[in-house]
Structures are given as C-alpha cells and as structure tokens.
C-alpha cells in the first residue's frame, strides 16, 4: 500500500571520441549526479535524494546505463541528467532513452534499442566478413531475446 516508488532511467552516454573509457565506474557517475543535484536543487534536493539514487547498470562498451531515482524526483532528476557535462574526467552527453517504473521495462527497451543499433550498423557496413559477423550476433541475440519472452 505505502511503498517507496522509484523511476528507472535508461540513459545513453555519448563521449567525444569512440574509445572505451575503462576508468569510468558507477561510483564516478553517481558522484557526478549528486553534484548536479546539489548545483541545481541545493541542499533540499540533496536531502530528497540522499541514499536513494543508484546506478543499477553501466556498460562502458555501449555507453548505456540504468539509473534509479525516487519517483517524485523524476522531472528534476531528468534536468540534472541533462545538465551533466563531465563524467569522471571525460566530456560526455547524457541522453535519456526511456523512463520506466520497473527495471524490467528498461531491460526490454535496452534490448530493442541495442538490436536497432546493431541492425543499423549492419546496414552501414559494406558486404563482407564484418557484416556477416554482425548479422550472426544479431541472429543469436534475437533468439536469446525470444527465449526470455520479451
């Protein structure tokens, strides 16, 4: 009945160059978000979100992250994510792809988003070994997603 509700943001991080930034950890991202909350919403904002914001998932290879925030802080959290300019020591852009009430919806969206990206990449690469490799990965992933009944 009275339950702490959260919102889960599926977020894509774009960096200046295409290298994988292996030095970046979830704690870097978390501290950057808390700094943004303090800058935009002050001590009151920090109080509302203390120990409630969590980086649930971070994949550096694809630049995708899932961030949990309290439900009543959803709009303000989105403003904080939009105002992120630097994460760790890297310049980056944070683009919110999906907002959901559960991790499961974010997971579903992550699958479809990643599959779309792979598909577009396959169409962009010219015919050859690389294109076949991407096609193989796509087919295997589609089968796995079907088995998960998403």
């Amino acid at each position: 009945m009275v339950r702490l509700k959260y919102r889960y943001f599926l977020v894509e991080l774009h960096f200046t160059d295409c290298t994988v930034h292996t030095s970046l950890t979830p704690s870097h991202l978390l501290s950057t978000i808390y700094n943004a909350v303090q800058e935009n919403f002050g001590e009151v904002g920090l109080g509302r979100t203390q120990n409630r914001i969590k980086v649930v998932y971070l994949a550096l290879l694809t630049g995708m992250a899932v961030i949990r925030v309290p439900a009543d802080f959803e709009k303000d959290a989105r403003v904080c994510l939009a105002s992120l300019v630097v994460v760790g020591r890297e310049r980056c852009v944070c683009n919110v792809v999906h907002v959901g009430g559960t991790i499961r919806t974010c997971q579903k969206k992550l699958y479809s988003y990643s599959l779309n990206r792979l598909h577009r990449q396959m169409l962009d690469t010219p015919d050859g070994r690389e294109r076949d490799q991407i096609r193989g990965v796509l087919e295997r992933t589609l089968e796995e997603v079907k088995q998960l009944s998403y």
Partner: protein, 273 residues
Amino acid sequence: MERFCELNLKFPTKPEKQDEFVYLCGRMGYRTIAFNVTVDANKVFIKNQLKVDLPELRVTENPTNMRILRRLTIVVSDSNHIRAFNSPILRKFDIVAVQPKTEDLLNQCIARCNNNIQILSLDLTRPLPYRLKHTHIQPCQLNNVYVEVCYVSAIKDSATCRNIVSNCRDINWVSRSRGLLVSSGAEDPLFVRGPYDVMNLMTVFGIPFKTARAGLSTNPQAVILKGRSRSQTFNGLVEKVEGVGESLVEKLRLSKEGEEFEESASKKHKSGS
C-alpha cells in the same frame, strides 16, 4: 512521426565538426538542423547593404538524411541597419534572425522587418535591460516572427542558468505561451540535448510542456517554410520549381485532362469569350 528541429548550432569552421554535429543530432532524434552564423551589423553594414560571406556546408556523412540549413543572426545596435534587411545576400540564407540590443530597436525591427526576418532572438544570459511587455511580443506574433529561447548557457554555467530561468518565465508570460522556438545555441556537439530532455528542461524553467513541444517541432517547421517563401517565392504567390518544365507539360498534353482542356480552350477561343 514528429520531426524535431534544432535551429541554432554555431557554424563550425572545421568540416569534421559539421559531421560530428550531424551524427550526434541524428542519434538524439533531430531530423532538421540549422548552422548559425552571427554577425554584428556595425561591421558588415556597407553602403546600405549587408555584406556577409555565405558559409560552405561540407558534410560528408549524413546517415539519417538530416536536412541541413544555413541561418544568419544579425546583432542590431543602430536603427539605420534595419533598412539593410532587404540585402540580396539574405536570400541565400534559409533562415534570418535578428538580435536587437535595445527596446526601441526591438520595436523598430519587428515593425519594419517586412517579412525578411523569421526569428527574434534575445540575449537571455543576462537580465534584460528593459521590462518585456505584451506590446513587444504581440507584433511578433502578428508578423509570424518567432521568439527564440536558447538553453545551452543554462547547462554550462549556474549564474547564467539563473538569468535564463527568470527570462524564460517572463517570455512565457508575455507571449501567452505561443510563438516560441526552443533551440540550443551550442558551439560544441556535446552541448546538444535530446528533444524530450529539452522539453522537460523547459517545463522546469517555466515554459509548459505543450509549448516546448511546439517550439521543437511545429514552430521551427513554420519558420523554415516562411524562410523558403521569402527566398524562393515571389511574395509567397509564385514559386519557380526546377526540373519539372517540359516533361510535365508533355505529360499534361498526352493525358486525358490535357485533351479536354485543349478542347474547351479552343471552343472558348472560337466563341470569342
């Protein structure tokens, strides 16, 4: 499918940066972008005309078939510069915007623009030196000039963020939430934000969600059409379409409608009407 437009990206001199802008804006979800060149009218006002170099678009990769336009922003500080809005070079740009420095100049620019301007952009990073009123913005709406709000300085700096939020609230009040354009004004591709993030940002800044949505989709499209009617049509009535000409006339002649039209035209000619 909604077409989101980003109409204020600072024109990058390096061609690689143009590609970066196109790539990132495409990934964010924008379908039309405009590269902006800002000029000070004092420096380019020569013999009652504006002399501006038309910038070159050198985009090599456009995977999302993004429409790329050229925009000019004229910073006006003297009322003599307004007569130069008729300059022929302005027709080469897809969109023309004006940035007046004082209240008098704002009124004069809008009253004397004569359909040459599509956007009014104000410097929102500082508190405006005059109090914005309905009487400033109503002529804009009557002349189909859209008022622009740029959000990039709010992301970069907290002091300017304060000013932008207060100016946004004033603009929303004064314009009655109509006729607004939302854009970034970004120098670097990493300062552009996705359309839904921008709408949320504007909601927190005081511009309602629907107005922000219109400011990103329908209003920019109206601005682009207005720019096109200014530069490529005669008073919005007649447009020269290239590549159609004789082939269309041949088709008409060979089609049934063409034959009927010719018959009726010849009958009319015989009856002398």
